[in-house]
Symmetry: C2
Amino acid sequence: MPAATASPPAATVVVDTGHTRYDIRIGEGLLDEPASWQGLPRAARALIVSNTAVAPLYAARLRTALGGAYAAVGLIELPDGEAHKDWPALNLIFDRLLADGADRDTVLFALGGGVVGDICGFAAACWMRGVPFVQVPTTLLAQVDSSVGGKTAINHPGGKNMIGAFWQPARVVCDLSTLATLPDRELRAGLAEVIKYGPIADAAFLDWIEANLDALLARDPAALAHAVRRSCEIKAAVVGQDEREAGLRAILNFGHTFGHAIEAGLGFGTWLHGEAVGCGMVLAAALSQRLGLVDAAFAARIERLVARARLPVQAPDLGPPDRWLELMRVDKKAQAGQIRFVLIDAPGHALLRPAPDDAVRAVLAAHTAPAA
Amino acid sequence: MPAATASPPAATVVVDTGHTRYDIRIGEGLLDEPASWQGLPRAARALIVSNTAVAPLYAARLRTALGGAYAAVGLIELPDGEAHKDWPALNLIFDRLLADGADRDTVLFALGGGVVGDICGFAAACWMRGVPFVQVPTTLLAQVDSSVGGKTAINHPGGKNMIGAFWQPARVVCDLSTLATLPDRELRAGLAEVIKYGPIADAAFLDWIEANLDALLARDPAALAHAVRRSCEIKAAVVGQDEREAGLRAILNFGHTFGHAIEAGLGFGTWLHGEAVGCGMVLAAALSQRLGLVDAAFAARIERLVARARLPVQAPDLGPPDRWLELMRVDKKAQAGQIRFVLIDAPGHALLRPAPDDAVRAVLAAHTAPAA
């Protein structure tokens, strides 16, 4: 599947959890196509939840496209960034819904990246105990990962995504043309989640990413289309088997245990989520090697790929190593105070297991940049 | 079923929504019985969520009873009252869970009345996207109504229970002996929800309540036991048919459309929820009469029963009648801006329908106490 320069036709990936089923629609220009918005829950009112960076670019177009389906289409612009994935921002949505007289049939549309999608989804889960919502991801990270699978949340100052709900969207609409306006730093952050799917689930996709990383960084439309589609296929398959993360779904958190500690430890928004995950994958691969699950060549391969995506491969200085352990013990995968890591034991295969604190300390010591 | 003075044996009512099933256990002294707490989700850690009024009375006993099942049993005391059914109180629970290093297996226990149960249940629904919780209601209102059925929420300043989740408890344990410490005002507030079940679902139970109201007010154990059990049976049957209030479940909101407007309009906590519901039932019965659904004798019968329970039968002055309509349009049952009321068309049978604004204004004009 070498990258070509022509845009491929639109594709649909289906998520089926057993009790709910919805489409992920992937293609260029879907935002403006009326068909993208047909067959959604009927309602008098829709509210687009976006942020101050994305709304000026796309909200008017989405509003126009939704005008045929809803009598009233509102827009709320949240402050931008992970630092605002919190209760005050969530409450802005509730205040607006109340002021609008929004009823139980109101449909929310999350227009933006992962922060907007997570917070809008959680608002939909809680407003009047649950209203439908649609994901309209405009970042690579949101298109390949966070918009799919129904994980919604806000952060607690002490822990990432600690307060949230499983609440599936009614649809995910990935308009690939929105990636054209994505800042380079956000594109690279999104690549971290694309890279993730290779080591955990698909060795051939890992090979493909290595072969096509330059095309992805250059925003080659066909390469991006394939990356989004294959990532969504893998995520849909995993979520379909384990919606509520009883087991398998945890593998999607490769790199995230270290990554969440970085985000919380530096303060949310200092590093982008994808940057923290990129670095976290390097650390998790090194930990896999230290525990004898993979060889040094594989750990080096992951580090090289993350570095080629211009994502950090050195962990930030969060203070003494035990500060890392303390932050990671808050992770949702921890059990009875024991941190559980997503580790790789073969290219394309992950597992969840605890690791000795000493092994974690050693990996951190080998990968931590000196304080500036 | 005339009231007797001997305590009846413990009873179990089962709630079965199709995808979840749990016991409501009702009896004297259940708090201290180890059997009450057997068979719950296993975990290393439990957290009792209570308030400053209830915790001093019962938390130590519950802690002792739970000690056999959980290695660590924490306690958090929230501020008391409907005015604190809000985000700051909810966040106290999250802060505590984070400080304790609570993981996804932590079980929460809601020890208290409706406010504690609603807020603890919502915390359980959101913490790490969902942990199990157990309802241990210590007020009549919570035992007969709010602890059963999985409705959890906090208030928005502009609307009752606007932010919440459907999240079923793993069990409900109603220790009838805790009603002994209930202030009279709270007992009467609880009777409002008992009375509710007669008009909406069970004409014979309405007769029984009329015959036994004095015994209930005098806290006759057998009368209270029967009231709790029959109320739970009716609620379990309704919730079993319609967990997420697609239709039938709305009848449990008899008196609540007016009642929620009273609570929000006066400020949460000014009237107890049950007081607002008592008055709301009088108004809803009068509206049923005005729309020709029941005769004047039935409306008078409801008003007489509410008055005998020493609950308010005159609506408070919330300003002009349109302030009432404005507050009620926020109600979760409203659809496309149209308020829908739970009305009675025969003793033991309710229906959900809109009413002309003029009829609502007329009912309010006839039942509003002049401003003090």
